[in-house]
Amino acid sequence: MLYLVLFLFTIMIVTAIAIMFIKDISGAIIVTSIISLVASVLFLIMAAPDVAITEASIGSALTLVVFMLAVFKTQRGKK
């Protein structure tokens, strides 16, 4: 169980660092939702299923939709 938790933590840290190096904004937003998904699994391991369901639905679905809307409604900067 300890190794599983450490593995999940490693995924979260690697994804968080990877977001900085992704050039495409929509790709970066999709990768952001992976963090929430892994966090919800961690909440489940820590015996908090209520928080896990909320984190999975809001963190990985709603945040993604709202960020996507914001990206597509605003103008992209010129290079």
Binding site: I53, S57, I58, V65, L69, A70, F72, T74
Partner: protein, 231 residues
Amino acid sequence: MRKFFTFVLLSGFAFYVISFVGNSTTNNCASKGISVGTEILKNFANQTGSANAVTSVVVSYRGLDTLGEVTVLFLSAIALSLLLSAGSNKNKSFLRRSFILEKGISLMLPFITLVGIYVISHGHLSPGGGFPGGVIIATGLFTAIASGLIKINKSIFSVIEGLAGLTFVGLGIMGLTNEPSSFLYNFMPKGIFGNMISAGIIPLVYAVVGVKVASELTTLALNSFTYGEEK
């Protein structure tokens, strides 16, 4: 004047921090075993009739906070749709019809909605509740609206949302008319512990919260997508 207000705010915050630090070393309630958590875990089954301790705290013991949360979500949805619907008209048609998205969501939408309804209706028995269930339903509707599968008039959702909010407040006020009167008092019969129909007003409040959250977020999507779709 502005500096004075900043000074007052900062000194108040410093006072709070200092008192907190001083108390935590000498008078720690949790270490003595006097905490709200143990008391609630001992009594929640008799007092609320809900099988889920988290739900009994969210809806029953801290029902007013849930009303505040719903209000915060309402205000932020309004602000967001205001921001998203304002601006220049240059990139109107960002939505493109996608065959895979349209066929996929027409297959998945009933199941997503079913999961959402399950999570809402079993909120007092198993993990879940109004907020996550409403978000799950809204996610399915988001995708259906974005793919162009369903076209709904957004005023319907505004009416549903308003009615749900009024029902929440109405349930709270009905608790005031009861004999041990308090706002959001659980005045209905508790039923058998662990049954589908039990725990008094808790399932009703969660159903209302779920409908309100789902319709709120769908209105947000409708506001921004219809703007993007028209040419």
